[in-house]
């Protein structure tokens, strides 16, 4: 039997905004709270067992499966969801549009890395995380780093092409 215990109200910092969570059960995952209480359904619920990566978010900058995190335990942490990804300079809260895609998001669209799209938000978060940590990964490094994100539509070929496109543009940039 599932126990019903209401958590005390707590606050999460989601995409830079303090969000109060009141009346949630102690057992609610970060994924559930984001999706069902905070109106942020971008993180997806493909398995809710930590196997598929569709619910990937950053908690204090660390890539996690939000389905495996208790929301109450993330109180006070900085949570970044797919809704918080926008190119630098884009104003927060602006109506999203094509012009506001990050380089990873744009590459996923351009390279054909999106089919049904259910895994896509998780992939975007995970690819950003990978390329922030490892700016020029080898093919095998990309494949292993993203092996925690399942996709059933694409066979991963076009997602790999998207990652390669981002790496190629970023490394050709003036900063490097």
């Amino acid at each position: 039997m599932v126990r019903v215990v209401r958590a005390e109200a707590y606050e999460l910092v989601v995409n830079g905004v303090v969000r109060r969570v009141d009346g949630a059960l102690e057992t609610e995952s970060l994924l559930r709270v984001l999706r069902d209480r905070l109106g942020l359904p971008g993180a997806k619920n493909a398995c809710e067992q930590g196997e598929c990566g569709s619910c990937s978010v950053l908690v204090d900058g660390v890539l996690v499966c939000s389905c495996l995190e208790l929301a109450a335990a993330a109180a006070g942490c900085e949570v970044t969801t797919i809704e918080g990804f926008a190119p630098e300079g884009a104003s927060a809260g602006a109506e999203p549009s094509d012009a506001l895609l990050t380089d990873v998001q744009q590459a996923m669209v351009d390279a054909g890395g999106v089919q049904c799209g259910f895994c896509t938000p998780g992939f975007v978060v995970a690819i950003h995380d990978l390329l922030d940590r490892v700016p020029r990964p080898t093919g095998p490094e990309v494949r292993e780093a993203l092996a925690g994100n399942l996709c059933r539509c694409t066979g991963y070929g076009r997602i790999l092409a998207a990652v390669e496109q981002v790496v190629s543009v970023r490394t050709a940039g003036p900063a490097t």
Binding site: V114, G117, T120, P121, E144, L146, G148, C151, R152
Partner: protein
């Protein structure tokens, strides 16, 4: 009606510029990469309740009593429904209505729905489900499909769902050489990412709106209305965002349950399965047991194929009767087979129901017939590719059903293209690229490489006399084209193709695809059988051409010239016919420009040519509309100590008719091959006495990024007569022979005579 908040996010997907033949980007791509696309599990409404399903823990049992009292006593529970609350038909089904909405007297598989609850929180609903007391009296389950035909019936419709016999040519003839084999295919799951989910909203006057992830909203509507006992127009099914399908969303899942709960409670009800429930909540690919005998001449020509095929349909029929007919029709492979005896049967057991999955019966038999071709090649000392080329069917050849192939059949071209691709580099120092991958277990000296080929084919569209059609409506309004078509976009990219077609005919920049629902447009048929580009692409093309023709007539009237003095071009333009002296020479505008502010609209239905049923005794008949072919060459590395397989590369030649969108075709090919690789080396639902032992992505493995092979693809473009733009469906062929090619490569690497998929490590050591 209650406002469904996520709904506006689905509207107004504008297609970017690009015509047929371009690698146009998906119009829903930007919202999908931003996490803003509304999937069916993202929907919510004011006052929404959460639904949950109670499922049988037994593969076979009599229900003696159900006590709902403890569930109803829980605070926050709005209602509980069982079979007693089903106001209309008690059963539903894709082809035969043999599956109860809720079991009432007997449960026939582990996971069969018994009751459903609506409550204010998903956890409350789960507590209520846990509190329902069902008194079961277990009955010995029938789980061996080979026993099913002779066992006592487990369902009023009997244990044999359908037998298909094909008798072609001379049954007594024999070949110079004979090879025998028995082959097994395990139960594969579609494993789409987006779980079964939807939102049912009562309309306040006895009807209901259902947003749901599905493959065919109109067929859902008919089944739901029948079970609710409502006229069809009181049930409006809207396509919710679909997180993949692959056949698993042909049957209804949450549909009737959610609507019953919504109508009972008077409140919107959302249902969204967790992954373990998803494994129980949809049909799977049929496990198959196959016994084959191939006869050939000494010089390698096929003389006769004998095949006995048993498909385990599980507890309910779903689409088994069509799947088994496919298995029979494609049992001999894409070869000239002058004599054939095929006996295929789909039986009922107390295993989970099986039905549609990408490849639909052709996958299982392809593994068998291609294994046989390799066996024959070895016996005759003929290279496997040569043996296949020697027997490859072509246009004009006759199938074992007696149907002559009138369309394109580039079997030899596919095979030659597949094997013409460069082979990958030899296994090297990169540990991550060896069998075992990140486990870093493989010793390079104990890694063996193998190469295998396979060829497969299947029908496009529904077969056996099914009178199929699709409807589309196109409206040209002030330079913008609006398209209504009830296609279920499941990821395949029809939304992109529709825009390309419209732009090609009307010369517009902006195409808006209206949301798909049953109230605003007729049926588009199912997003299955590789049929939507042909059928609904055809409907959109027809409707667009009707609009273009109206615009041309209007322009001709304005100019005071006969309509035939103006030409409609393939670029969506209207130009002067050169020879007509009355036409002002300056006419060269897009259709959209010519329309100006005037609104033009047309609705069109596309049908394919009629097919015939198969003769019940001989299996003869013109059953199919068209066929698509593909060949695969797989390269594997096997760690012969650990039995671990890494699929290094799959190269393919695929018969596509015509490429309408190169990027999307590539995506279908790569994704389909990954599913074929999965069936070859890892994917299987493991059953013990009907119980699914691995209903999770922890234990049911699908290929990850690290498992997916490099894919090299060549499209064979031979336009198909009768197909819009000459394009064939491309979704299924990548999944058909890729499995067999991988297994051939494993045999070549190891010398082990593998006869069952998926191949497990313990099969190889």
């Amino acid at each position: 009606m209650t406002d469904v908040r996520a709904r506006p996010r689905q509207r107004g997907r504008e297609a970017p510029a690009g015509r047929v033949g371009d690698s146009v980007r998906r119009p829903d791509g930007p919202t999908k990469v931003q996490g803003r696309f509304a999937f069916s599990s993202d929907l919510e409404a004011d006052g929404m309740l959460w639904g949950r399903t109670l499922r049988s823990p037994h593969p076979h049992a009599r229900i003696r009593a159900i006590d709902l009292g403890p569930a109803l006593a829980i605070g926050g529970v709005a209602c509980v429904v069982t079979a007693d609350d089903v106001g209309g038909a008690a059963t539903y089904g894709l082809i035969a209505a043999d599956q109860p909405v809720f079991a009432s007297d007997v449960v026939r598989f582990v996971g069969e729905p018994v009751a459903a609850v609506a409550a204010d929180h998903p956890d409350t609903a789960q507590r209520a489900i846990d509190a329902i007391v069902v008194h079961y009296e277990p009955i010995p389950p029938l789980v061996d499909p080979q026993r099913a035909a002779d066992a006592p019936s487990i369902h009023p419709d009997g244990n044999v769902i359908r037998r298909v016999r094909i008798r072609h040519g001379d049954p007594g003839v024999t070949g110079d050489v004979v090879v025998d084999g028995t082959y097994d295919v395990g139960m594969q799951d579609q494993a789409f990412m987006g779980p079964e989910s939807g939102l049912a909203v009562p309309d306040g006057s006895g009807g209901v709106d259902l947003w749901v992830a599905t493959q065919w909203i109109h067929h859902d509507r008919d089944q739901v209305a029948a079970c609710l006992g409502l006229p069809a127009d009181k049930v409006r099914v809207h396509l919710g965002g679909v997180g993949g399908a692959f056949g698993a969303r042909e049957d209804v899942s949450i549909h009737v349950h959610a609507c019953l709960l919504a109508l009972r409670s008077g409140q919107p009800v959302k249902m969204s399965y967790l992954r373990d429930e998803s494994f129980l909540g949809h049909v799977h690919r049929h496990p198959a047991q196959m016994r084959y005998r191939h006869h050939a001449t000494y010089d390698g020509r096929l003389v006769k194929v004998e095949a006995e095929i048993t498909l385990d349909g599980g507890a309910y029929a779903s689409s088994s009767s069509a799947v088994v007919a496919n298995a029979a029709r494609f049992a001999c492979g894409p070869y000239r087979v002058p004599n054939a005896l095929v006996d295929a049967v789909a039986v009922r057991t107390n295993n989970p129901p099986c039905g549609a999955m990408r490849g639909f019966g052709a996958v299982q038999v392809c593994f068998a017939h291609e294994s046989q071709m390799d066996k024959l090649a070895q016996r005759l000392g003929i290279p496997p590719v040569e043996l296949r080329l020697l027997n490859a069917m072509a246009t004009g050849d006759v199938l074992p059903t007696g149907q002559r192939i009138t369309g394109t059949a580039p079997v030899a071209e596919c095979l030659r293209a597949a094997v013409a691709h460069p082979l990958p580099a030899e296994p090297g120092d990169e540990l991550l690229e060896r069998p075992g991958g990140a486990g870093r277990t493989a010793d390079l000296r104990r890694v063996r490489r193998g190469v295998g080929v396979a060829v497969g084919f299947k029908n496009l569209m529904y077969s056996e006399g099914f009178d199929d059609d699709s409807e589309a409506r196109v409206r040209l309004d002030d330079g913008v084209a609006f398209v209504s078509c009830a296609v279920a976009e499941v990821g395949q990219g029809f939304v992109t193709i529709a825009g390309q077609v419209v732009r090609s005919v009307l010369g517009v920049a902006t195409v808006v695809l209206e949301p798909a629902d049953t109230a605003s447009v007729g049926s588009a048929g199912s997003s299955s059988a590789s049929r939507q580009t042909w059928m609904s692409g055809g409907a959109v093309l027809r409707a667009s051409r009707l609009v273009a023709d109206q615009v041309r007539s209007a322009l001709a009237r304005r100019l005071g010239v006969p309509p035939e003095s103006l030409l409609l071009t393939d670029e969506g333009r209207i130009t002067s016919a050169d020879a007509d002296a009355h036409t002002p020479p300056e006419v060269d505008v897009t259709v959209a420009q010519a329309a100006g502010r005037e609104v033009f609209e047309a609705t069109a239905v596309h049908k394919h040519r009629l097919t015939e049923p198969l003769d019940a005794e001989t299996g003869q008949g013109q059953a199919d509309v068209s066929y698509a072919f593909a060949a695969h060459r797989a390269v594997v590395d096997v760690d012969i100590d650990l039995g671990l397989v890494r699929v290094v590369q799959v190269a393919t030649g695929q018969d596509v008719g015509k490429v309408l969108n190169p990027a999307q075709v590539t995506g279908q090919i790569e994704g389909g091959i990954a599913q074929g690789v999965g069936l070859a080396v890892m994917e299987e639902i493991v059953l013990t006495d009907g119980l699914v032992r691995n209903p999770s992505f922890t234990d049911y493995l699908i290929p990850t990024f690290a498992d997916a092979p490099e894919v090299l693809a060549t499209c064979i473009e031979q336009p198909e007569p009768g197909a819009p733009f000459g394009a064939k469906g491309v979704g299924e062929p990548p999944t058909i022979s890729s499995t067999a090619a991988v297994v051939a490569a494993i045999r070549s690497a190891t010398g082990v005579d593998v006869s069952r998929v998926p191949v497990h490590p313990w099969d190889l050591i």
